[in-house]
Amino acid sequence: MIGAPPVVAVTGIGRCAGVDADGAARGRRMDGFARAGLLAGVRALASAGYRRRDAADPRSGVFVATSLGCRSSVEEHQRSLSSATSLDDLSPAVFARTVHNTVAGELSLDQGLGGPAETFTSGTTAGIDALVAAFDLLRAGTADRIVVVGAEALSGTCAAGEEAARGHPGPPLEGAGAAVVLESRPAGETGFPAFLLGGTSLFSTRPDAARSRLAAWLAALSTGTALPRLLVASGPTDATFDADALREAGLGGGLLETAPTDLLGTAAIAGAVRAVELLRNRAVTRVAVLVRDPRGPAGAVVLGRPGG
């Protein structure tokens, strides 16, 4: 299809929950967030058949999505500071871990990814932002491959903080991550079970307005095809996408699954991984992953087969 922009295929997926022996070895100098993100990304790249080259690959990049980032390291540094009597009581290694692009850095280092590197910390919709940005760059030809990683880790204090801030418990994660590898392919290629077909995000403090706008976007994207099935990744405590509300928005009958826990910044990526699994099994042809942060941002990405 001469002149048509490339399509974006999902060529690999990966997950990390908790810490295993491999994780402990690789991530011994990292906090839970960095370790989870690194492992999820490494596994996704392996499943995509990616092999590290001798020189960093300028056409392979890494995008990371998180809500809390390295908050556990932030807490560790602050607590050290509170009890310190001099600078010598502080660990420079801990402070160095308080930059939220550590996953991007560690994955870039581990896998020789010398291409675009971005870290999105937009809250629950960070994964939407990362996926949409990767989609745009791959279609523009800026990169050939981007691994998009969602990672989150909560210490006990972080979990309590999240509960205090959001008014409901967050998941007691001790490091969890999910990742998809996106690659640009020539227009018309169909040899993958899942392609990223598009994404959008918006800001509205009104759930009904957010829902209506997302429904309109899904309808516009689905011109000529059936509406995609829906996978709600925000978790069960967000009523924006409950069954009644979706029916009112003209999306009734499309709900597939709702994530059982609030996955914070990993939501959209974890949702994308789950969507790929559903698409691989041919259970459905298109899945929309819906995410809303109760503080305003909301978004959706659609995965499926072009023309499906």
Partner: protein, 388 residues
């Protein structure tokens, strides 16, 4: 392809509130680094920073989060330059780059000073800006350490260029705190004398705080409403070093890739670049790395574009740095004047750079410039701007 124009700017730095005092301060060659007043200094060795003026201590709680106040001060300046209501609605996006977000609030909560950490997350400044302006398009936060501000501008320009929105507010913001100063002090990264970017005697960086905010719009839409473009955003690139988590690759491989990507995105040759706003922190390693990277991209032994760093003047403002450097670059393109690099007295001959120092320099002709940023964890970013 849609063109992206910068049509309004706002800034808060140690020189005060506003782009005018920022620019005049840079032209003067002065440094606004001075004694710390924001927190007790018993646990830090280096006690010189660039605190934003005239922001005082502020009230406690979310409304008093210093990063929020810095960003809102810059927002007020931008709002005064555009028609009422322009920034509201789904056609406007917000992209904020920050390393700390509402971290001061989080630390207060940890210390038991607040009942809830609400408003302390990284995305809180972006939401605040969206709520204030009524922006209903994408509201995005990026945290790429010291490259956050440049990354925010790149992401904002991408949203406008792709047609996702017609305009976007691109900001960089970070506030000073004991958390940050003590952390950099523990790394022995801070200058014990004077911040001297690219100087033979450079010995470290100095920290600052601030906010930089740029309104970028689709050029046709901006012209239709009667706006005067200040500059065009021609290209953006980012790249990972893949070398080390806290040290840059000696040859600046990641920065070379980011610069090359930005030049390719802009479809311009390196020889067309007439000015470089460097990261220029004043550390021995960073400045040497940048010099190596610029030599690779712009050619060793040839006449290279003049280089400038603002970090001797306003300090290293972390997430705000890239946005403030973009504002500086726009002003350089508008005026043809490059401010001197504050603190630089004796350029390191080993670097082989033409760094403007001592007095402002007129550079003509000047149509294209680049602003670069390099960060912990090996993230590098570059944005190319064109005179309107």
């Amino acid at each position: 392809m849609r063109s992206v124009a910068v049509t309004a700017m706002g800034a808060v730095t140690g020189f005060g509130e506003g782009v005018v005092p920022f620019w005049n301060g840079l032209l003067s060659g002065r440094s606004c680094l001075g004694p710390i007043t924001l927190f007790p200094t018993g646990r830090v060795v280096v006690r010189q920073v660039a605190e934003a003026r005239p922001l005082g201590q502020g009230e406690p709680g979310p409304a008093g989060e210093r990063a929020h106040r810095l960003l809102l001060a810059a927002a007020r300046e931008v709002e005064a330059q555009v028609p009422s209501g322009l920034l509201g609605g789904p056609g406007t996006a917000v992209v904020v780059g920050t390393t700390m977000g509402g971290n001061r609030l989080f630390c207060s909560w940890l210390e038991g000073g607040l009942a809830s950490p609400s408003g302390s997350d990284l995305a809180s400044p972006a939401r605040l800006l969206a709520e204030r302006t009524g922006a209903a398009g994408p509201v995005v936060t990026v945290s790429a350490a010291c490259a956050s501000g440049t990354a925010a501008l790149g992401a904002a320009a991408r949203l406008v260029r792709s047609g996702t929105v017609d305009r976007a507010l691109a900001a960089g913001v970070d506030a000073l705190s004991e958390f940050v100063v003590a952390g950099f002090d523990s790394l022995r990264a801070l200058s014990r004398t004077t911040v001297r970017p690219f100087d033979l005697r450079r010995d470290g960086l100095g920290l600052g705080e601030g906010a930089g905010l740029l309104l970028v719009e689709e050029l046709g839409a901006a012209l239709s409403r009667g706006a005067r473009p200040l500059a065009l955003v021609r290209g953006y690139g980012s790249a990972g070093d893949a070398f080390h988590m806290t040290r840059p690759s000696p040859r600046g491989a990641g920065l070379v890739r980011a610069l090359s990507a930005a030049l390719a995105d802009a479809r311009v040759e390196p020889s067309a670049i007439g000015f470089v706003s460097a990261h220029g922190t004043g550390t021995p390693l960073n400045d040497a790395m940048e010099a190596a990277a610029f030599g690779t991209v712009f050619g060793a032994g040839l006449v290279r574009p003049p280089v400038q760093s603002l970090k001797g003047a306003v300090g290293h403002t972390l997430g705000a740095a890239g946005a403030l450097e973009a504002i500086l670059t726009v002003r350089v393109l508008e005026s043809g004047l490059v401010p001197p690099t504050a603190g630089l007295e004796e350029p390191d001959p080993a670097l082989g750079l033409d760094v403007v120092h001592g007095a402002a320099r007129r550079v003509e002709p000047l149509s294209l410039a680049v602003s670069t940023s390099s960060a912990f964890a090996g993230t590098n970013a570059a944005v190319i701007l064109e005179r309107a």
